[in-house]
Protein backbone atom coordinates (compact mmCIF):
# COMPACT_ATOMS: atom_id res chain seq x y z
CA UNK A 1 0.00 0.00 0.00
CA UNK A 2 1.18 3.47 -0.82
CA UNK A 3 0.08 6.45 1.26
CA UNK A 4 0.28 10.12 0.34
CA UNK A 5 2.14 12.37 2.75
CA UNK A 6 1.66 16.09 3.18
CA UNK A 7 4.00 16.98 0.30
CA UNK A 8 2.03 14.83 -2.12
CA UNK A 9 4.74 12.19 -2.36
CA UNK A 10 3.70 8.63 -1.72
CA UNK A 11 5.55 6.58 0.82
CA UNK A 12 5.97 2.84 0.67
CA UNK A 13 4.34 1.48 3.78
CA UNK A 14 4.84 -1.77 5.59
CA UNK A 15 2.24 -3.59 3.48
CA UNK A 16 4.43 -3.25 0.38
CA UNK A 17 7.40 -5.61 0.29
CA UNK A 18 10.65 -3.66 0.25
CA UNK A 19 12.50 -3.48 -3.06
CA UNK A 20 15.50 -5.80 -3.36
CA UNK A 21 17.73 -3.49 -5.34
CA UNK A 22 18.19 0.26 -5.60
CA UNK A 23 19.63 1.66 -8.81
CA UNK A 24 20.89 5.21 -8.95
CA UNK A 25 21.11 7.94 -11.46
CA UNK A 26 24.60 9.25 -10.86
CA UNK A 27 25.42 12.64 -12.44
CA UNK A 28 23.62 15.11 -10.22
CA UNK A 29 22.01 12.50 -7.98
CA UNK A 30 25.13 10.91 -6.44
CA UNK A 31 27.87 13.31 -7.50
CA UNK A 32 28.11 17.07 -7.94
CA UNK A 33 29.29 17.27 -11.55
CA UNK A 34 29.03 21.04 -11.90
CA UNK A 35 31.40 22.24 -9.20
CA UNK A 36 33.77 19.32 -9.84
CA UNK A 37 34.10 19.96 -13.57
CA UNK A 38 34.32 23.70 -13.01
CA UNK A 39 37.18 23.22 -10.53
CA UNK A 40 39.18 21.19 -13.05
CA UNK A 41 38.55 23.71 -15.82
CA UNK A 42 39.54 26.54 -13.49
CA UNK A 43 42.77 24.81 -12.53
CA UNK A 44 43.68 24.10 -16.16
CA UNK A 45 42.91 27.69 -17.20
CA UNK A 46 44.97 29.13 -14.37
CA UNK A 47 47.93 26.96 -15.38
CA UNK A 48 47.63 28.28 -18.94
CA UNK A 49 47.22 31.91 -17.87
CA UNK A 50 43.68 31.99 -19.34
CA UNK A 51 40.55 33.56 -17.91
CA UNK A 52 37.53 31.28 -18.24
CA UNK A 53 34.08 31.31 -16.63
CA UNK A 54 34.53 27.77 -15.37
CA UNK A 55 30.95 27.26 -14.17
CA UNK A 56 29.66 28.45 -17.53
CA UNK A 57 32.09 26.05 -19.21
CA UNK A 58 30.75 23.16 -17.08
CA UNK A 59 27.19 24.15 -17.98
CA UNK A 60 28.02 24.31 -21.69
CA UNK A 61 29.68 20.90 -21.55
CA UNK A 62 26.71 19.43 -19.75
CA UNK A 63 24.33 21.11 -22.22
CA UNK A 64 25.85 18.91 -24.92
CA UNK A 65 24.96 15.76 -22.99
CA UNK A 66 21.33 15.27 -24.02
CA UNK A 67 21.77 16.27 -27.67
CA UNK A 68 24.85 14.05 -28.09
CA UNK A 69 23.00 11.02 -26.67
CA UNK A 70 20.07 11.79 -28.93
CA UNK A 71 22.40 11.38 -31.92
CA UNK A 72 22.96 7.80 -30.74
CA UNK A 73 19.31 7.27 -29.85
CA UNK A 74 18.14 8.31 -33.30
CA UNK A 75 20.75 6.21 -35.08
CA UNK A 76 22.70 9.19 -36.46
CA UNK A 77 25.70 7.77 -34.56
CA UNK A 78 26.37 4.09 -33.87
CA UNK A 79 26.69 3.07 -30.22
CA UNK A 80 29.17 5.53 -28.72
CA UNK A 81 30.20 5.49 -25.07
CA UNK A 82 29.67 8.59 -22.96
CA UNK A 83 33.41 9.33 -22.66
CA UNK A 84 33.48 9.73 -26.43
CA UNK A 85 30.35 11.87 -26.50
CA UNK A 86 31.88 14.05 -23.77
CA UNK A 87 34.97 14.42 -25.92
CA UNK A 88 32.99 15.48 -28.99
CA UNK A 89 31.29 18.20 -26.97
CA UNK A 90 34.59 19.24 -25.39
CA UNK A 91 36.25 19.63 -28.78
CA UNK A 92 33.38 21.85 -29.89
CA UNK A 93 33.26 24.13 -26.86
CA UNK A 94 37.00 24.62 -26.20
CA UNK A 95 37.34 27.16 -29.05
CA UNK A 96 34.02 28.77 -28.05
CA UNK A 97 35.67 29.56 -24.70
CA UNK A 98 38.92 30.58 -26.41
CA UNK A 99 40.83 27.70 -24.84
CA UNK A 100 43.33 26.76 -27.52
CA UNK A 101 46.68 25.05 -27.81
CA UNK A 102 45.92 22.14 -25.48
CA UNK A 103 47.92 18.99 -26.15
CA UNK A 104 46.09 15.73 -26.79
CA UNK A 105 47.11 14.57 -23.32
CA UNK A 106 45.69 17.71 -21.74
CA UNK A 107 42.41 17.27 -23.60
CA UNK A 108 42.19 13.59 -22.65
CA UNK A 109 42.88 14.43 -19.01
CA UNK A 110 40.28 17.21 -19.03
CA UNK A 111 37.75 14.86 -20.63
CA UNK A 112 38.26 12.52 -17.69
CA UNK A 113 37.21 15.28 -15.29
CA UNK A 114 33.91 13.34 -15.47
CA UNK A 115 35.72 10.41 -13.77
CA UNK A 116 36.61 12.64 -10.81
CA UNK A 117 33.34 14.10 -9.58
CA UNK A 118 32.81 14.72 -5.87
CA UNK A 119 29.97 12.82 -4.21
CA UNK A 120 27.35 14.98 -2.51
CA UNK A 121 28.20 15.15 1.22
CA UNK A 122 25.57 12.56 2.25
CA UNK A 123 26.13 10.15 -0.64
CA UNK A 124 28.79 7.76 0.69
CA UNK A 125 27.27 7.51 4.17
CA UNK A 126 23.77 6.98 2.77
CA UNK A 127 24.91 4.37 0.23
CA UNK A 128 26.85 2.54 2.92
CA UNK A 129 23.67 2.26 4.99
CA UNK A 130 21.53 1.27 2.00
CA UNK A 131 24.06 -1.38 0.92
CA UNK A 132 23.45 -3.30 4.13
CA UNK A 133 19.82 -3.90 3.19
CA UNK A 134 19.72 -3.68 -0.61
CA UNK A 135 21.76 -4.37 -3.71
CA UNK A 136 22.95 -0.94 -4.82
CA UNK A 137 24.16 -0.12 -8.31
CA UNK A 138 24.43 2.91 -10.53
CA UNK A 139 22.08 2.99 -13.51
CA UNK A 140 23.73 5.82 -15.34
CA UNK A 141 24.43 6.85 -18.89
CA UNK A 142 28.13 6.83 -17.97
CA UNK A 143 30.17 3.98 -19.41
CA UNK A 144 31.61 1.25 -17.20
CA UNK A 145 35.17 2.59 -17.06
CA UNK A 146 33.84 6.04 -16.15
CA UNK A 147 31.57 4.65 -13.44
CA UNK A 148 34.34 2.39 -12.10
CA UNK A 149 36.84 5.23 -11.80
CA UNK A 150 34.18 7.51 -10.34
CA UNK A 151 33.46 4.91 -7.66
CA UNK A 152 37.14 4.57 -6.81
CA UNK A 153 37.59 8.35 -6.77
CA UNK A 154 34.68 9.00 -4.46
CA UNK A 155 34.56 5.76 -2.47
CA UNK A 156 31.10 4.81 -3.76
CA UNK A 157 30.42 1.29 -2.43
CA UNK A 158 28.46 -0.16 -5.38
CA UNK A 159 27.68 -3.86 -5.48
CA UNK A 160 27.90 -3.89 -9.27
CA UNK A 161 27.77 -1.42 -12.13
CA UNK A 162 24.76 -1.38 -14.43
CA UNK A 163 23.70 1.19 -16.99
CA UNK A 164 23.62 2.40 -20.54
CA UNK A 165 26.75 0.65 -21.80
CA UNK A 166 25.38 -2.76 -20.80
CA UNK A 167 22.01 -2.06 -22.41
CA UNK A 168 23.58 -0.23 -25.38
CA UNK A 169 20.81 2.31 -25.02
CA UNK A 170 20.79 5.67 -23.30
CA UNK A 171 18.25 6.67 -20.67
CA UNK A 172 15.42 7.45 -20.92
CA UNK A 173 15.14 4.51 -23.36
CA UNK A 174 13.13 1.84 -21.60
CA UNK A 175 15.73 -0.83 -22.43
CA UNK A 176 18.09 0.65 -19.82
CA UNK A 177 15.58 0.34 -16.95
CA UNK A 178 14.49 -3.12 -18.07
CA UNK A 179 18.14 -4.22 -18.27
CA UNK A 180 18.62 -3.45 -14.57
CA UNK A 181 15.88 -5.90 -13.63
CA UNK A 182 17.11 -8.47 -16.15
CA UNK A 183 20.77 -8.38 -15.08
CA UNK A 184 19.77 -8.59 -11.41
CA UNK A 185 17.27 -11.38 -12.17
CA UNK A 186 14.51 -9.40 -10.45
CA UNK A 187 11.05 -8.27 -11.38
CA UNK A 188 10.90 -4.55 -12.24
CA UNK A 189 8.81 -3.93 -9.11
CA UNK A 190 11.66 -5.29 -6.98
CA UNK A 191 13.95 -2.58 -8.32
CA UNK A 192 13.75 1.03 -7.18
CA UNK A 193 15.20 3.83 -9.31
CA UNK A 194 16.69 6.68 -7.30
CA UNK A 195 17.15 10.01 -9.06
CA UNK A 196 17.05 13.76 -8.63
CA UNK A 197 15.42 14.07 -12.05
CA UNK A 198 11.71 13.50 -12.54
CA UNK A 199 12.16 12.61 -16.22
CA UNK A 200 14.35 9.69 -15.23
CA UNK A 201 11.82 8.53 -12.62
CA UNK A 202 8.90 8.80 -15.03
CA UNK A 203 10.70 6.63 -17.55
CA UNK A 204 11.62 4.09 -14.85
CA UNK A 205 8.02 4.02 -13.65
CA UNK A 206 6.88 3.33 -17.19
CA UNK A 207 8.85 0.08 -17.13
CA UNK A 208 7.44 -0.89 -13.72
CA UNK A 209 10.31 0.07 -11.45
CA UNK A 210 9.59 1.74 -8.15
CA UNK A 211 10.92 5.24 -7.74
CA UNK A 212 12.63 7.39 -5.15
CA UNK A 213 13.13 11.11 -5.66
CA UNK A 214 16.03 12.79 -3.90
CA UNK A 215 16.29 16.55 -4.20
CA UNK A 216 19.61 18.09 -5.25
CA UNK A 217 18.71 21.78 -5.26
CA UNK A 218 22.24 22.91 -6.13
CA UNK A 219 22.89 20.54 -9.02
CA UNK A 220 22.75 23.38 -11.55
CA UNK A 221 24.21 25.97 -9.20
CA UNK A 222 22.45 28.69 -7.21
CA UNK A 223 19.42 29.79 -9.19
CA UNK A 224 19.55 26.64 -11.33
CA UNK A 225 16.56 24.69 -12.59
CA UNK A 226 16.68 21.59 -10.34
CA UNK A 227 13.53 19.53 -9.80
CA UNK A 228 12.34 20.36 -6.30
CA UNK A 229 8.92 18.72 -5.90
CA UNK A 230 7.94 15.09 -6.52
CA UNK A 231 5.24 14.34 -9.06
CA UNK A 232 2.89 11.40 -9.54
CA UNK A 233 5.71 9.14 -10.74
CA UNK A 234 7.36 9.24 -7.31
CA UNK A 235 6.86 6.49 -4.70
CA UNK A 236 9.27 7.82 -2.07
CA UNK A 237 10.61 11.34 -1.71
CA UNK A 238 13.72 12.08 0.35
CA UNK A 239 15.86 15.10 1.01
CA UNK A 240 19.13 13.14 0.77
CA UNK A 241 20.50 9.58 0.87
CA UNK A 242 20.49 9.39 4.66
CA UNK A 243 16.84 10.38 4.69
CA UNK A 244 16.18 7.75 2.00
CA UNK A 245 17.97 5.11 4.10
CA UNK A 246 15.87 6.01 7.12
CA UNK A 247 12.62 5.90 5.17
CA UNK A 248 13.54 2.48 3.73
CA UNK A 249 14.53 1.11 7.13
CA UNK A 250 18.23 0.78 6.27
Amino acid sequence: MVAADASGARRVTAEVPAPKALVFDTFGTVVDWRSSVAAEVQQLARGKGLTVDAAKFADAWRAGYGPSMNRVRTGELPWTKLDDLHRMTLDRILPEFNITGLTEDEKATLNHAWHRLKPWPDAVAGLTRLKKKFIIAPLSNGNISLMTELAKFGGLPWDCILGAELARHYKPDREVYQSAADFLDLKPADVMMVAAHLGDLRAAKGVGLRTAFVTRPLEYGPGGRADLKPDASVDVSAKDFNDLASQLGA
Copy 2:
Protein backbone atom coordinates in the same frame (compact mmCIF):
# COMPACT_ATOMS: atom_id res chain seq x y z
CA MET B 1 61.37 -7.14 -18.24
CA VAL B 2 60.30 -10.51 -16.97
CA ALA B 3 62.66 -12.73 -15.00
CA ALA B 4 62.37 -16.46 -14.29
CA ASP B 5 62.43 -17.53 -10.66
CA ALA B 6 63.43 -20.92 -9.34
CA SER B 7 59.98 -22.43 -9.91
CA GLY B 8 60.02 -21.46 -13.57
CA ALA B 9 57.40 -18.75 -13.13
CA ARG B 10 58.25 -15.36 -14.47
CA ARG B 11 57.92 -12.32 -12.25
CA VAL B 12 57.11 -8.84 -13.43
CA THR B 13 60.04 -6.66 -12.47
CA ALA B 14 60.29 -2.95 -11.97
CA GLU B 15 61.03 -2.27 -15.67
CA VAL B 16 57.54 -3.43 -16.66
CA PRO B 17 54.77 -0.93 -15.91
CA ALA B 18 52.31 -2.39 -13.43
CA PRO B 19 48.96 -3.50 -14.80
CA LYS B 20 46.09 -1.10 -14.15
CA ALA B 21 43.40 -3.70 -13.56
CA LEU B 22 43.29 -7.23 -12.21
CA VAL B 23 40.45 -9.48 -13.32
CA PHE B 24 39.74 -12.68 -11.47
CA ASP B 25 38.45 -16.08 -12.29
CA THR B 26 36.08 -16.70 -9.41
CA PHE B 27 34.89 -20.31 -8.95
CA GLY B 28 37.90 -22.05 -7.46
CA THR B 29 40.18 -19.03 -7.59
CA VAL B 30 38.33 -16.65 -5.23
CA VAL B 31 35.77 -18.95 -3.64
CA ASP B 32 35.73 -22.58 -2.53
CA TRP B 33 32.76 -23.88 -4.51
CA ARG B 34 33.17 -27.54 -3.59
CA SER B 35 32.90 -27.44 0.18
CA SER B 36 30.27 -24.68 0.02
CA VAL B 37 27.96 -26.53 -2.37
CA ALA B 38 28.50 -29.79 -0.52
CA ALA B 39 27.52 -28.17 2.78
CA GLU B 40 24.22 -26.93 1.32
CA VAL B 41 23.45 -30.29 -0.23
CA GLN B 42 24.28 -32.01 3.06
CA GLN B 43 21.98 -29.70 4.97
CA LEU B 44 19.12 -30.19 2.55
CA ALA B 45 19.55 -33.98 2.57
CA ARG B 46 19.62 -34.09 6.36
CA GLY B 47 16.40 -32.09 6.52
CA LYS B 48 14.79 -34.59 4.14
CA GLY B 49 16.11 -37.65 5.96
CA LEU B 50 18.20 -38.62 2.92
CA THR B 51 21.73 -39.94 2.76
CA VAL B 52 23.78 -38.29 0.03
CA ASP B 53 27.51 -38.16 -0.69
CA ALA B 54 27.46 -34.36 -0.73
CA ALA B 55 31.01 -33.89 -2.02
CA LYS B 56 30.30 -36.30 -4.85
CA PHE B 57 27.11 -34.37 -5.59
CA ALA B 58 29.08 -31.11 -5.76
CA ASP B 59 31.60 -32.75 -8.08
CA ALA B 60 28.84 -34.10 -10.33
CA TRP B 61 27.19 -30.69 -10.48
CA ARG B 62 30.47 -29.00 -11.35
CA ALA B 63 31.20 -31.69 -13.94
CA GLY B 64 28.19 -30.42 -15.87
CA TYR B 65 29.67 -26.92 -16.03
CA GLY B 66 32.01 -27.23 -19.02
CA PRO B 67 29.70 -29.38 -21.16
CA SER B 68 26.70 -27.11 -20.51
CA MET B 69 28.67 -24.00 -21.53
CA ASN B 70 29.87 -25.84 -24.62
CA ARG B 71 26.23 -26.24 -25.67
CA VAL B 72 26.06 -22.43 -25.72
CA ARG B 73 29.48 -22.03 -27.30
CA THR B 74 28.60 -24.34 -30.19
CA GLY B 75 25.23 -22.70 -30.77
CA GLU B 76 23.19 -25.73 -29.66
CA LEU B 77 21.66 -23.41 -27.05
CA PRO B 78 21.09 -19.67 -27.45
CA TRP B 79 22.78 -17.42 -24.89
CA THR B 80 21.85 -18.91 -21.51
CA LYS B 81 23.05 -17.50 -18.21
CA LEU B 82 25.03 -19.70 -15.86
CA ASP B 83 22.24 -19.86 -13.27
CA ASP B 84 20.08 -21.53 -15.90
CA LEU B 85 22.84 -23.91 -16.98
CA HIS B 86 23.37 -24.83 -13.32
CA ARG B 87 19.67 -25.54 -13.04
CA MET B 88 19.67 -27.83 -16.10
CA THR B 89 22.51 -29.85 -14.59
CA LEU B 90 20.81 -29.90 -11.20
CA ASP B 91 17.58 -31.25 -12.66
CA ARG B 92 19.56 -34.03 -14.34
CA ILE B 93 21.61 -35.12 -11.32
CA LEU B 94 18.98 -34.91 -8.57
CA PRO B 95 17.38 -38.24 -9.61
CA GLU B 96 20.83 -39.77 -10.16
CA PHE B 97 21.46 -39.16 -6.46
CA ASN B 98 17.96 -40.33 -5.54
CA ILE B 99 16.95 -36.90 -4.31
CA THR B 100 13.29 -36.67 -5.22
CA GLY B 101 10.21 -34.78 -4.15
CA LEU B 102 11.81 -31.35 -3.85
CA THR B 103 9.45 -28.42 -4.33
CA GLU B 104 10.22 -25.82 -6.97
CA ASP B 105 11.23 -23.41 -4.20
CA GLU B 106 13.62 -25.95 -2.73
CA LYS B 107 15.21 -26.56 -6.12
CA ALA B 108 15.52 -22.83 -6.82
CA THR B 109 17.10 -22.27 -3.40
CA LEU B 110 19.52 -25.15 -3.91
CA ASN B 111 20.43 -23.81 -7.36
CA HIS B 112 21.42 -20.57 -5.69
CA ALA B 113 23.94 -22.41 -3.53
CA TRP B 114 26.31 -21.05 -6.20
CA HIS B 115 25.48 -17.54 -4.92
CA ARG B 116 26.66 -18.49 -1.43
CA LEU B 117 30.20 -19.78 -1.84
CA LYS B 118 32.79 -19.13 0.86
CA PRO B 119 35.84 -17.11 -0.15
CA TRP B 120 39.18 -18.82 0.40
CA PRO B 121 40.60 -17.59 3.71
CA ASP B 122 43.05 -15.14 2.11
CA ALA B 123 40.68 -13.82 -0.57
CA VAL B 124 39.00 -10.83 1.07
CA ALA B 125 42.19 -9.56 2.74
CA GLY B 126 44.18 -9.96 -0.46
CA LEU B 127 41.54 -8.29 -2.62
CA THR B 128 41.26 -5.42 -0.15
CA ARG B 129 45.01 -4.81 -0.48
CA LEU B 130 44.95 -5.16 -4.28
CA LYS B 131 41.99 -2.79 -4.59
CA LYS B 132 44.08 0.06 -3.18
CA LYS B 133 46.45 -0.11 -6.15
CA PHE B 134 44.42 -1.65 -8.97
CA ILE B 135 40.92 -1.85 -10.39
CA ILE B 136 39.71 -5.31 -9.35
CA ALA B 137 36.83 -7.15 -11.00
CA PRO B 138 35.69 -10.71 -11.47
CA LEU B 139 35.96 -12.07 -15.01
CA SER B 140 33.88 -15.17 -14.46
CA ASN B 141 31.42 -17.28 -16.36
CA GLY B 142 28.92 -16.51 -13.58
CA ASN B 143 26.12 -14.11 -14.50
CA ILE B 144 25.88 -10.66 -12.99
CA SER B 145 23.21 -11.47 -10.42
CA LEU B 146 25.18 -14.50 -9.28
CA MET B 147 28.42 -12.53 -9.01
CA THR B 148 26.65 -9.65 -7.24
CA GLU B 149 25.10 -11.91 -4.61
CA LEU B 150 28.35 -13.82 -4.23
CA ALA B 151 30.16 -10.56 -3.54
CA LYS B 152 27.60 -9.53 -0.94
CA PHE B 153 27.66 -12.98 0.66
CA GLY B 154 31.45 -13.12 0.98
CA GLY B 155 32.30 -9.42 1.28
CA LEU B 156 34.27 -9.37 -1.98
CA PRO B 157 35.19 -5.73 -2.57
CA TRP B 158 34.98 -5.60 -6.40
CA ASP B 159 35.14 -2.28 -8.20
CA CYS B 160 32.82 -3.53 -10.92
CA ILE B 161 31.58 -6.83 -12.29
CA LEU B 162 32.75 -8.01 -15.69
CA GLY B 163 32.48 -11.42 -17.31
CA ALA B 164 30.66 -13.78 -19.60
CA GLU B 165 27.19 -12.23 -19.39
CA LEU B 166 28.51 -8.87 -20.59
CA ALA B 167 30.42 -10.45 -23.46
CA ARG B 168 27.67 -13.01 -24.16
CA HIS B 169 30.42 -15.56 -24.57
CA TYR B 170 31.80 -18.09 -22.12
CA LYS B 171 35.46 -18.42 -21.25
CA PRO B 172 37.73 -19.54 -22.75
CA ASP B 173 36.25 -17.68 -25.76
CA ARG B 174 38.60 -14.79 -26.51
CA GLU B 175 35.69 -12.33 -26.58
CA VAL B 176 35.41 -12.51 -22.78
CA TYR B 177 39.03 -11.51 -22.15
CA GLN B 178 38.91 -8.81 -24.81
CA SER B 179 35.70 -7.45 -23.29
CA ALA B 180 37.46 -6.82 -19.97
CA ALA B 181 39.97 -4.52 -21.66
CA ASP B 182 37.26 -2.85 -23.75
CA PHE B 183 34.88 -2.16 -20.86
CA LEU B 184 37.73 -0.80 -18.74
CA ASP B 185 39.04 1.24 -21.69
CA LEU B 186 42.48 -0.32 -21.26
CA LYS B 187 44.93 -2.08 -23.52
CA PRO B 188 44.96 -5.86 -22.96
CA ALA B 189 48.52 -5.58 -21.60
CA ASP B 190 47.24 -3.26 -18.86
CA VAL B 191 44.90 -5.99 -17.62
CA MET B 192 46.11 -9.00 -15.62
CA MET B 193 44.04 -12.18 -15.45
CA VAL B 194 44.27 -13.96 -12.09
CA ALA B 195 43.28 -17.63 -12.00
CA ALA B 196 44.03 -20.99 -10.43
CA HIS B 197 43.45 -22.64 -13.82
CA LEU B 198 46.15 -22.69 -16.47
CA GLY B 199 43.61 -23.10 -19.29
CA ASP B 200 42.05 -19.77 -18.33
CA LEU B 201 45.45 -18.08 -18.19
CA ARG B 202 46.54 -19.49 -21.55
CA ALA B 203 43.38 -18.14 -23.18
CA ALA B 204 43.87 -14.74 -21.51
CA LYS B 205 47.49 -14.65 -22.67
CA GLY B 206 46.34 -15.37 -26.20
CA VAL B 207 44.40 -12.10 -26.18
CA GLY B 208 47.37 -10.16 -24.76
CA LEU B 209 46.41 -9.96 -21.09
CA ARG B 210 49.05 -10.46 -18.45
CA THR B 211 48.57 -13.42 -16.19
CA ALA B 212 48.89 -14.34 -12.52
CA PHE B 213 48.61 -17.92 -11.35
CA VAL B 214 47.41 -18.55 -7.81
CA THR B 215 47.45 -22.13 -6.58
CA ARG B 216 44.32 -23.55 -4.96
CA PRO B 217 45.45 -27.11 -4.19
CA LEU B 218 42.20 -28.05 -2.45
CA GLU B 219 39.77 -26.77 -5.10
CA TYR B 220 38.78 -30.31 -6.05
CA GLY B 221 39.21 -31.73 -2.57
CA PRO B 222 42.06 -33.80 -1.13
CA GLY B 223 43.52 -35.83 -3.95
CA GLY B 224 41.86 -33.60 -6.57
CA ARG B 225 43.39 -32.58 -9.87
CA ALA B 226 44.23 -28.91 -9.21
CA ASP B 227 46.88 -27.16 -11.29
CA LEU B 228 49.92 -26.84 -9.05
CA LYS B 229 52.77 -25.58 -11.25
CA PRO B 230 52.81 -22.54 -13.52
CA ASP B 231 53.52 -22.99 -17.21
CA ALA B 232 54.83 -20.68 -19.92
CA SER B 233 51.58 -18.69 -20.01
CA VAL B 234 52.18 -17.41 -16.48
CA ASP B 235 53.76 -14.00 -15.76
CA VAL B 236 53.43 -14.05 -11.98
CA SER B 237 52.92 -17.05 -9.72
CA ALA B 238 51.62 -16.68 -6.18
CA LYS B 239 50.57 -19.01 -3.42
CA ASP B 240 47.55 -16.91 -2.44
CA PHE B 241 46.10 -13.40 -2.83
CA ASN B 242 48.20 -11.91 -0.05
CA ASP B 243 51.32 -13.23 -1.74
CA LEU B 244 50.06 -11.79 -5.04
CA ALA B 245 49.47 -8.40 -3.38
CA SER B 246 53.00 -8.44 -1.99
CA GLN B 247 54.54 -9.36 -5.32
CA LEU B 248 52.61 -6.59 -7.07
CA GLY B 249 53.56 -4.02 -4.43
CA ALA B 250 50.01 -3.60 -3.13
